[in-house]
């Protein structure tokens, strides 16, 4: 590289020697220079008051200086409002929220709740007069939407059901000298501000969730008021112990005490101050007008609330929790940390002994293939990696056969086959048998079960063409929205987990609602992302696999690769038309009728209906027997009740309980049966790969709850593409 910057040009040379024709040196140079304002002298007037003194409790002065906040004072009387500074004080918070209830959800954050109504009318009405811009519902909605979008983008790992993000100042957790307006985003001081004891503060509605990884908010100084004694920062749960602030009048930082440290420049009207909390290394830095000022605090405790403290009349600040674009480029900072965390993961030392790691991975892949019955692939994979398949091929094929029957809705045959192949299995698992029988009843209603089909003679419904395509990671009999089962299983809750999933996500068609709430990531996990992942493993491990599958009649693998091509989450449904010719090759033949017939109870056959009724009685009897033998089982009871409810409707498919008829509901049943069979072979009922994934996901959740911020940049999905 070529040269260094040249030496500084002699910029001020001219001034340095009294150059303009000098007066006789005897004359004192006359300088009309204006003295700059002296730097704010803070010794006397700074809010570093006496700690521990005062009537209002343990050291309000010190508290104010460091943004030390105390339990919220009683709300201001509704009638006698203090002399109003610029924006009129809003009505007391209690007007908006039910007394003693949880804090009112700020703004519109409550989500798609009340139909068409605009919440928080009281607060909006109270402040609209002073609002500098119109606060129409639409504008408000737009702002809320933008906030939602930005928060989602900045903090994708945060589960807001569990840990809501701060969106506004809390009207409950504030001093009475603090006034809020403009959707609880604007804070003004309304006390007399005579002594440091008059300092007051307000915190946000919620603490910062650790799963943010990096959290950031900005505060704009609308007016510095009389003295500009504003502090911006963080406070801890208990209000009193820990608080952290950066003060405008002297630029000092205050850490849980009344004495400040020189930190950064002063700030005043028009400045935008940002506060960034790094939950990975527990530090905090501030920004001023988009410029990072450097680390202010280290060793921060968890669960800090964004907080501001004000002290003199006229001080007004606006918060930006994501309602507007930030002045500072926080996303760039986040990128750096995401890269750091991911590099850390990538460089994590694994297996000291050579090949051990590889062998383990291969075992996981192999066991996964075996578990789901991809026998051809499993065989080819085992061959090319010199592994032994733990289960016999015949056994895999048997399981496969049973699974196909269940997924085709042919429950009677499935139960029969199971009893033939695994004689004592269902005897030892009466609850499982009951579950299978309930499903059989549902399939009878559906007209798909073999018993009613032979009676009805009508062709099966379009649902029958539901292809037998086990999906990776979640067991093949799981619906895409059931990814949570993995969590439950991973935490060792056993088979009931299936049913909890069954109940909570009974909506077969993946509804938007469910995804928005918390099944969001699972959708990709189970239906989109994993498929190509596994596929690529197959491809890379052995070229033979492909040849092999194309010659083989193994249906799953073919279906599977069809599914891969589909990007939509219900790709396997769409793919069904392609399956026709493959079906013919199948050992268990399945008729496919894609014509959309009118759906009738039990396929419309009277005999079939009678059979179904009869079967229902048997089921009822079995339920009673089961209760006598094994005690009450609420899950069983509910299952049966739900199934019987189908008969209460003339069109069960369009009834409130109709979702039971959805073929996707066969999946948990199928999975439970598969796992039970595997258990009899002393094989894990969950493939280790799914277990590991579940554990990793669970671990991230645990990290979030334990305040370990790096979980924000290590989502499992990032590693599944």
């Amino acid at each position: 590289m070529s040269g260094q910057p040249p030496p500084p040009p002699p910029q001020q040379q001219q001034q340095q020697q009294q150059l303009s024709p000098p007066p006789p040196a005897a004359l004192a140079p006359v300088s009309g220079v204006v003295l700059p304002a002296p730097p704010a002298v803070s010794a006397g007037s700074s809010p570093a008051g006496s700690p521990g003194g005062g009537a209002g409790g343990e050291g309000l002065g010190a508290a104010a200086a460091a943004l030390l906040l105390h339990p919220p004072p009683p709300p201001p009387p509704a009638t006698a409002a203090p002399p109003p500074p610029p924006p009129p004080p809003p009505p007391p918070a209690s007007a908006a929220a039910p007394a003693s209830g949880p804090p009112a959800p700020p703004g519109l954050a409550a989500g798609p709740g009340p139909a068409g109504g605009a919440p928080t009318p009281a607060l909006v009405a109270g402040s609209s007069a002073a609002a500098p811009f119109p606060h129409g519902d639409s504008a408000l909605n737009e702002q809320e939407k933008e906030l939602q979008r930005r928060l989602k983008r900045l903090y994708p790992a945060v589960d807001e059901q569990e840990t809501p993000l701060p969106r506004s100042w809390s009207p409950k957790d504030k001093f009475s000298y603090i006034g809020l307006s403009q959707n609880n985003l604007r804070v003004h001081y309304k006390g007399h501000g005579k002594t440091p004891k008059d300092a007051a503060s307000v915190r946000a509605t919620h603490p910062i969730p650790a799963a943010c990884g990096i959290y950031y908010f900005e505060v704009k100084i609308v007016s510095k008021g009389r003295d500009g004694y504003m502090g911006i920062g963080l406070s801890a749960q208990g209000w009193d112990k820990h608080s952290y602030g950066y003060h405008g009048d002297d630029g000092h930082s205050f850490c849980s005490s009344g004495t400040g440290q020189p930190y950064g420049p002063t700030f005043t009207t028009g400045d935008v101050i940002g506060c960034c909390v790094n939950l990975i290394n527990n530090t905090c830095f501030y920004t001023k007008n988009g410029h990072s000022l450097g680390i202010a605090f280290t060793d921060l405790p968890p669960n800090l609330y964004p907080t501001v403290g004000l002290q003199t009349p006229g001080e007004v600040v606006d918060a930006n929790f994501g309602q507007h674009p930030f002045v500072f480029d926080i996303e760039d900072y986040m990128r750096e940390w995401r890269t750091k965390i991911q590099a850390q993961i990538d460089r994590f030392p694994i297996g000291d002994r050579e090949g051990e790691w590889q062998t383990m991975i291969q075992k996981m892949v192999s066991s996964y293939l075996v578990h789901h019955g991809y026998c051809a692939t499993a065989e080819a994979f085992a061959r090319s990696t010199d592994q032994t398949v733990l289960e016999e091929l015949a056994s895999i094929k048997n399981r496969q056969r049973i699974q196909k029957l269940v997924l085709a809705g042919r429950m009677g045959e499935a139960i029969e086959t199971t009893q033939q192949l695994y004689p004592s299995l269902l005897e030892r698992n009466p609850n499982l048998l009951f579950t299978l029988k309930v499903r059989q009843f549902i399939e009878m209603v559906n007209g798909t079960d073999s018993e009613v089909r032979c009676l009805g003679g009508r062709s099966p419904k379009s649902q029958d063409s539901y292809p037998v395509s086990p999906r990776p990671f979640s067991s093949p009999s799981m619906s895409p929205s059931h990814g949570m089962n993995i969590h439950n299983l991973a935490s060792g809750k056993g088979s009931t987990a299936h049913f909890s999933g069954f109940e909570s996500c009974s909506n077969g068609v993946i509804s938007n609602k469910a995804h928005q709430s918390y099944c969001h990531s699972n959708k990709h996990q189970s239906s989109n992302l994993n498929v190509p992942e596994l596929n690529s493993i197959n491809m890379s491990r052995s070229q033979q696999v492909n040849n092999f599958t194309s010659n083989d009649v193994d249906m799953e693998t073919d279906h599977y690769s069809n599914g891969v091509g589909e990007t939509s989450s219900n790709g396997f449904l769409n793919g069904s038309s392609k399956h026709d010719h493959e079906m013919e090759d199948c050992d268990t033949e399945m008729e496919v009728d894609s014509s959309q017939l009118r759906r009738q109870l039990c396929g419309g056959s009277q005999a079939a209906i009678e059979r179904m009724i009869h079967f229902g009685r048997e089921l009822q009897a079995m339920s009673e027997q089961l209760r006598r033998d094994c005690g009450k089982n609420t899950a069983n009871k509910k299952m049966l009740k739900d199934a019987f409810s189908l008969l209460a409707y003339s069109d069960p498919w369009n009834s409130p309980v109709g979702n039971q008829l959805d073929p996707i509901q066969r999946e948990p049943v199928c999975s439970a049966l598969n796992s039970a069979i595997l258990e009899t072979h002393n094989l894990p009922k969950q493939p280790p790969l799914a277990l590991a994934m579940g554990q990793a996901t669970q671990c991230l959740g645990l990290m979030a709850r334990s305040g370990i911020g790096s979980c924000a940049f290590a989502t499992v999905e990032d590693y599944l593409h």
């Binding site: 001034q15 340095q16 040196a25 000022l293």
Partner: protein
Amino acid sequence: MACLLETPIRMSVLSEVTASSRHYVDRLFDPDPQKVLQGVIDMKNAVIGNNKQKANLIVLGAVPRLLYLLQQETSSTELKTECAVVLGSLAMGTENNVKSLLDCHIIPALLQGLLSPDLKFIEACLRCLRTIFTSPVTPEELLYTDATVIPHLMALLSRSRYTQEYICQIFSHCCKGPDHQTILFNHGAVQNIAHLLTSLSYKVRMQALKCFSVLAFENPQVSMTLVNVLVDGELLPQIFVKMLQRDKPIEMQLTSAKCLTYMCRAGAIRTDDNCIVLKTLPCLVRMCSKERLLEERVEGAETLAYLIEPDVELQRIASITDHLIAMLADYFKYPSSVSAITDIKRLDHDLKHAHELRQAAFKLYASLGANDEDIRKKIIETENMMDRIVTGLSESSVKVRLAAVRCLHSLSRSVQQLRTSFQDHAVWKPLMKPILESGAVELLCGLTQSENPALRVNGIWALMNMAFQAEQKIKADILRSLSTEQLFRLLSDSDLNVLMKTLGLLRNLLSTRPHIDKIMSTHGKQIMQAVTLILEGEHNIEVKEQTLCILANIADGTTAKDLIMTNDDILQKIKYYMGHSHVKLQLAAMFCISNLIWNEEEGSQERQDKLRDMGIVDILHKLSQSPDSNLCDKAKMALQQYLA
């Protein structure tokens, strides 16, 4: 065999090595071309990573033979390619290897090879050229001696990602100074390289980026062009900004920050542009942080110093960003006492970079404090700052000394600025004191004797600043430390800047009446001699003006006045300059006269008489008619002294 002595074994091993090397060379002369090819391939495998083998083969004369084979028309392309590969491998060794290759005229041979139609051969030649041109022993001029080379390299840029990488690397190493920049620019370097910034290959992107940083450095023409270049619908500055995102490799962030800095300094990007204020500057500050490697911290600080040097707003922003001033204090802690004990390797590394770190920190401090008083105060208050500067002034490394004196110079401005603007001694004294107490005067006087003109200028400049309105004691200290001999040597310095600053120092020393008299009583004779000499010499207006101002100051003394009044030669000269064609000089001479004839002072009558006799009053009358109002006023005022 078992009882063979040790020495013969060693010898036999040695001769074996030479013999095997000899064998490799011999095979290059085989009449069978196929065997020659195999010989070259074997040689390639033998030299990879083996510096000793490389040296052996060079000594045994492999290079001329390889070059012969490479240029021989009868050689197969494969053979030529393998030859280029082996030569490239030899160049990868020590600097001596590169010298040997250069002695064999390898560069023209390889450049000739670039005319081949075969891409593999071209790539091998370019790779070898790259290695040679990036060596410090290779004169970059060799790239420009044949005018057809650059256009041909530009054309080869489209051939493959390897040609792109190697050619860009050659350009970025061989582009030194405006002449090279112009050659490359005129051959379309900007257009040809711009689209490589979006290459899929990281190495290509990186080398292209480096090219732009050397092309833009202090070059307004290139820089102005760069701001308007579009690549895939995006302007080049935007692409650079993307490259300094925080998840990009540090090398890439640093180099793109350099590009933007150079474009800004060349006037192509405004200093208040967001890409400078919110992107480039913060990125460079980050490069100074402790987390970065020492090399990166050096480059970061130097580039930042260059970026903010002319702009006070950027200086202010930098000064508050990430505690930069405190961060720089860490630059002086190498090698740390810990590293010395625990880790020899680290100590070695630290030692190597210690000088570079210190000079970079001084440069950045100098830039930061160039204009703003508050920033200077913050710097001076940094722990041990003054000690560090003083230590820096006496370091063995010229680079460090120069940077330290620049820093001191920048900070010493503050003293004078504060004093001129506030007249408040209480404010400036604490700033001045540490500088003086640290023995800076002697060090600065020492620097004025340096061979390096830049050191002399900065040394005398800082002294001039210190003498400005200083106490008598400081002035005496300066004069004593400097010695009149040295002062006169500086007055005849070949460097104009040194002369100007020395006159400035003299003028600052000769201010306030008691000081003037004191100094003139001890050094009057020499000073008058020096003044005469300069006024008689061939100097420009500024120098003469400055000298006349010194005379005016002398004329303001009480006893010092006599030194002028008794020197007819000087009086004649003053008279001459009153009638000079240049107003500035007339004005300066006017000041001398005013001071001499001022009424209320002792002996003013005699002086007035003497000057009248010389014809000065006539000149004053003439000047009172001058179209220059300033001059006219001064002349009238002087005439009034006569009337009173």
